[in-house]
Structures are given as structure tokens and as C-alpha cells.
Amino acid sequence: MSYPQPHPRFSVLSSSSLTSLDHLSPASSSTRFSLPAAPSINTTLATPRPGVRPNVYDRNLNKTRAAEVSASAFAFLFSEVVQYTQKRVSGIADLERRLNTLGYRVGVRVVELMSWRNESSSKTPKREIRFLPALMSIHTHVWRTVFGKPADAIEKSVENPDEYMIIDNDPPITRNVSVPRDMSQLSCSSFTAGIVEAVLDGLGFPARVTAHNTPTDAFPNRTTILIKLDKAVLEREEALKT
């Protein structure tokens, strides 16, 4: 994490009070990931007794590769997430920032899981070091892992060279969300933006990622995930070119 500004992404509860130094100190790591305090993460327990459900940490990560979760159950969970968050914020910007923070916590795990699976399944596992292939892999692989389908388009901003967009015509997580008119600026896909931001951070492309509603007649839920890259990334891309 070499970017200069303090990055308040890891703590949902108090982001403003954190300094960048806090992130690196191991003492704060418990607030980052909030591991359950109690039952053991016991890796020596290789063969669990019959009838006892294995600890979630002992399960094979590859078994759930093709598993699906109920979209309805997730929709209710996400609805509660938004309601919970909305009770604790003062405005739309604040709400989006908190959803982004929650998504960031998901994205950190997504990037780790994907690179782990990539390593075990491929003979020549590859880590993207250039931005465009990384963006392509987010558009295809991250989307498929998280949402079960690739995103619909990637665009590059005409005006700003540091801006890229991932477009989803019908984001599954906001399919049932109907934002009231007085909050029309709000995009609950900020959660997705947080996931993208974490993945980009994890791959070494620090960026600010935001979500915007860009409805069309055919796709009223169309959403644009806007990626604004850190200056350092553009400089490195330029240096790698030669």
C-alpha cells in the first residue's frame, strides 16, 4: 500500500479517526477483518467427526467454486445491509462511502480467493501487472465469481486519461432496489465499487472507484462503475510501455 492518502477502507465503524499508520500495525488487524473470537481455527482436525459440521475455515475452498447462493436470500440480506447503513449516516455521500467500505471487505477476500484458485488450477498461474489485462480480468473473472456473469462493457473516458468504466446493464445486487426520488443520486452499486476498489488495490493499482446510475430505455438499472486511477499507476504504465 504505497499510496499517500490515508485509506479509511478497513474499518466500517470509525474511518475518519484512522491514520494510514494504523492500517499497517498488527494491533488494528482485529478491527479489519473481525474474525470470530471463539471457536478454534483448528487445522489439525483433518477428519471431522461424523455429524459435526466442519468449521467454515476447514472446508475446501474449491468445493464452493461452482456453488450458488439464493438470490432471494441475498437480496434480503443486502436490503438489511442498506437499511442498517442508512440509519447510521447523514447523507447520500456518506451512505455510498459506507457501502463502498463494506464492499471493500468483500473484495479483499475475492482477490485472495481468486489468486489462490488460479494458482491451484492453472499450471502457469499469472498475475496481471498491466492495467488493461487486470481490468479485463475484473470485467470477466471477478464478475463471474461474484455475480455469476461477466459485466457488459468496459469503456475508457474520453476526457480523462485516468478514468475507466465497467458497465453492468442489470446488476444483480440492486435488481430489487428501487431508490426513492429524493435520493436519486444514490447508487447501491457502491458496494460493487468497493469490491472493484479492493481488487484493484490488491493487484497493485490503487484507485478511487465510485458507482453511478446511467439508465437507458432498454436497461433502467444500468450502472457504471467509474475507476479513477492513482497517478502512480499511470506513471508506471507509461514506464512499462517503453
Binding site: 436490503s79 438489511e80 442498506v82 442508512q86 430489487n176 432496489v177 428501487s178 431508490v179 426513492p180 447501491c188
Partner: protein, 132 residues
Amino acid sequence: MTIFGLWVINKAGGLVYQRNFGDGLPSQTSNEYLVLAGTLHGIHAITSRLSPTGSGSGAQVIEGESFKMTIFLTPTGTKFVLLTSPIEPTAETVLQKVYEIYADAVMKNPFHTPEMPIRSEAFDTRIAALIK
């Protein structure tokens, strides 16, 4: 074979959604609709206790000379009421689909407060698509 209107009544008897289709029904003020819904709620509560074999589901169909009222009660006490012409064989299936849309577009929407009037664009559009 016409659908005139759809009401959604919450478990307390309040009208949370009301919409007319076509112009088969004489228009009423919103207050009159609230009174109608409240009355229907009361009638329904009484009919559900009339059953000779313990408590039943209550009135399901109320028929008039020129219209039919089909009532669908969910396990949570929300009532969907469809006003149709007397011969409307699809009323029950339409109500099932309305319930499905309600579950998707209203109950999964984080900006909906339970038991409060339904203000969801998605619900409106999907209902309009279902009942043309």
C-alpha cells in the same frame, strides 16, 4: 375478461396500494378508497371466523352483478384484492403473480417501510407489465 383495479391492504387494514386499470370503475377520492379497504378488512376478519370447521381463510370471492372481487390473503396477513369483470378465470393466477412481484420489488427493497404505502417504481412498472 377485464381487470379493473388492484388493491393491497396491509395486515392492519390500511390501503397501501391502489391502482385502477382502464376506466371501468367510477373514480373515488383516496379517502373513499381507504374507507372501502378498511371495511373490506373488517368483513374479511368476520368471514374468517364464520367457518364451521374452525378458523378458515375468510372470504375469497365477492361477486356482484357487474364485477367480481377476488381476495388473496398471504400468510403474513397482507391482502391482495383484484377487481375484475364477473367472468375472469385468471384472477387467482394474476394475484399469485402480483404476490411474487410484491415479494421481489417491495419486500426486498431497502427503501420500503413495512406496512407503509408502496412507493416503488419497480413495483409500478412490473404491475403494469403484468396487467395490461
